[in-house]
């Protein structure tokens, strides 16, 4: 990991987002004290903690596979951290009951983890964290092991919990949908370095490089690699010549002969008459998700993903023309965002 530097504000929901192996879990574990940093400093509040053991940092960690204590009941799992700190039984009881009530697991208190479903175990893991009222909550992909419906409902619950508890949360995920819906601040990581830090809107609308552009957003942003010609008005990509005159702008001419990647999101296309459109191709596949339809369009050797409304009459094999919203186009020079 290199050049990692960021702040998380009090009460903020901060997301560490990135593909597998990018170091986000490692970063989380460094904050928790489960890994030792080879350099640098970690502060929780005003206190420097990178030399402290996990138990001295007052953080709570929710693991991806929950890591509940299998030889204890749910009640004992929740009470464990309080018992270790020698809290009396009279104090522990109400705290555990409150957390259980908040997460609706009150009738599970006598059960063992083996007798719980995935979703229930996840709530117990959450409960274990909440009961401690720590300074920071650390979540390591807590929803990855749940099925899609449960994931969606737990996402909502997590957001509600965050507002209710006013907690400071650092949350690791590879699911960009989770990141966008939950995060106040998103930190995109790749291969041990920070790619971008920003709000969900910032990361989605103004990705700072190709990696972020391609990673955030489902379906993936269409990325076209090519050059600008010497006049600065045509974009040459594979065998296509795409007209950029609508963007008449001085700065494009300076990019001629340099490699340029244009990014266009699936929803920023408009379907038009193939003869007069900006780019035309054949529909290779229609993915009908019910609420949206995504078309896989093949234009010469380029493959594009285009969102189509429900009313459009489009079928596999049709020829289709696409116009693009130039104001929503992204430009990347040498991989980095280029602002016109």
């Amino acid at each position: 990991m290199q050049n990692i530097s960021f702040d998380v504000a009090d009460g903020e929901f901060c997301i560490l987002l990135g593909p597998s192996g990018c170091g986000k879990s490692t970063l989380l574990r460094l904050i928790a004290g489960l890994e030792e940093p080879s350099g640098g400093e970690i502060f929780i509040g005003a206190e420097r903690v990178d030399a402290l053991a996990p138990r001295e940092r007052d953080v709570a960690f929710v693991f991806q596979n929950y890591a509940l204590y299998p030889h204890m009941t749910v009640f004992e799992n929740l009470a464990f951290s309080l018992r270790v700190r020698s809290m009396s039984k009279t104090e522990i009881g109400p705290k555990v009951k409150d957390a259980a009530r908040l997460l609706e697991i009150e009738d599970l208190l006598d059960r063992r983890p083996q007798a719980l479903s995935g979703g229930q175990r996840q709530r117990v893991a959450l409960g274990r964290a909440i009961v401690r009222q720590p300074k920071i909550f650390l979540f390591d992909e807590p929803l990855s092991n749940l099925d899609a419906t449960l994931r969606a409902s737990m996402r909502v619950e997590l957001a509600r919990l965050h507002h209710r508890l006013g907690a400071t949360i650092v949350y690791v995920t590879h699911d960009q949908a989770e990141a966008l819906t939950l995060g106040d601040q998103i930190i995109v990581l790749n291969r041990g370095t920070i790619q971008q830090i920003g709000s969900a809107a910032a990361v989605y609308r103004t990705p700072s490089n190709i990696m972020v552009a391609g990673f955030v957003g489902n379906p993936q942003m269409n990325l076209l690699e090519g050059n600008v010609d010497s006049t600065g008005s045509m974009f040459l990509c594979e065998n296509l010549r795409l007209d950029l005159k609508s963007l008449v702008n001085q700065s494009l001419r300076q990019l001629s002969q340099r490699s340029l990647t244009i990014g266009i999101r699936a929803e920023d296309f408009a379907i038009a008459d193939p003869a007069a459109a900006w780019i035309a191709g054949d529909i290779d596949l229609v993915e009908d998700l019910g609420s949206d339809r995504y078309l896989r369009v093949k234009c010469d050797r380029i493959e594009l993903v285009v969102r189509a409304g429900r009313e459009e009459n489009v079928q596999r094999g049709d020829q289709i023309g696409l116009n693009v919203r130039f104001d929503r186009m992204h430009f990347f020079v040498d991989g980095k965002r280029f602002e016109l």
């Binding site: 928790a32 004290g33 489960l34 053991a53 996990p54 138990r55 953080v59 709570a60 960690f61 693991f63 596979n65 929950y66 890591a67 509940l68 204590y69 299998p70 030889h71 464990f80 951290s81 270790v84 700190r85 063992r112 983890p113 083996q114 274990r128 401690r132």
Partner: protein, 271 residues
């Protein structure tokens, strides 16, 4: 249907084959002297306790049982304690040489006992530990540590790292996490290892024979082997003594087997 019956018969056959020697001396122990030497051999004895009485009173059987208990018990306790520490370290530390350690232990354990008998005897002699309990226990600990460490490492590895980390975050020190979380979860494994070590120590003959020459401190296997006098071959007493020697092992296995199976079937360690 036929195959199930054939399989059942086959299994029964093998079980009988294994149990016959045991059954024979148990039955023999209840015979009278006359039945013992009868031809044709008596299969079912009339139940007399004479051989047991004789073994206990004339051959000092109880004395040997106590010695065996002390030696095997201490050896098991020491082996498991030391072995657990080693196994925990090997299981948790991810160093390049931890696998080498295990292989090295395996290699050592393959030494034939007769090859190391002489050196072991000499060491104990120099320490003046011949004919002492600590001498034999020391030898047994050295003999059973490799096996114990191998078994314990496997069981410690089976305890998911995250559960321990959760304990550390919840406020435990390393030792507390070990005591409150890891040991209870590894308990079935520890019991298994303890049982195997105990059985090995209880039945061990060779080192007991060469190290313990004083009848005061001899263990059961050696004691029973020395029952025969110059002119007598007390089959009856030997049978009685062997039966008594086997009972503790059976009882222990039955008791802990339940615990081990219960521990494993409780779905243990899938966080």
């Amino acid at each position: 249907m036929k195959r199930a019956a054939a399989l059942a018969l086959f299994s029964l056959g093998i079980a009988l084959y294994c149990l016959v020697p045991f059954l024979w001396f148990v039955l023999t122990s209840f015979k009278t002297s006359a039945e013992l030497t009868a031809i044709p051999p008596t299969l079912l004895p009339s139940f007399h306790w004479t051989f047991y009485q004789s073994a206990l009173q004339n051959y000092g059987l109880l004395h040997y049982v106590v010695n065996s208990a002390i030696v095997a018990g201490s050896a098991t306790l020491l082996t498991i304690t030391v072995g657990s520490l080693a196994a925990y370290a090997i299981a948790r530390l991810h160093l390049t040489w931890t696998n080498f350690c295990l292989l090295f232990l395996l290699a050592i354990s393959m030494f034939p006992q007769i090859a190391i008998a002489g050196p072991v005897w000499t060491i104990l002699d120099r320490l003046q530990w011949l004919n002492t309990f600590q001498g034999l226990v020391a030898a047994y600990v050295a003999l059973s540590l490799p096996l114990a460490i191998w078994i314990l490492t496997t069981f410690f590895r089976d305890v998911p790292r995250e559960i321990e980390e959760a304990a550390l975050i919840d406020g435990c020190s390393r030792l507390q996490a070990l005591y409150k979380i890891v040991l209870p979860l590894a308990a079935p494994g520890i019991l298994t290892a303890a049982l195997l070590v105990f059985i090995q120590a209880w039945n061990e003959f060779f080192f007991a024979l060469i190290i313990m020459t004083d009848p005061e401190v001899q263990t059961l296997p050696v004691g029973i082997a020395l029952f025969p006098g110059e002119y007598t071959m007390p089959w009856g007493e030997i049978s009685a003594a062997s039966t008594i020697a086997t009972i503790p092992l059976i009882v222990l296995t039955l008791i802990f087997q339940r615990g081990i199976v219960r521990g494993l079937s409780a779905g243990a360690v899938k966080g």
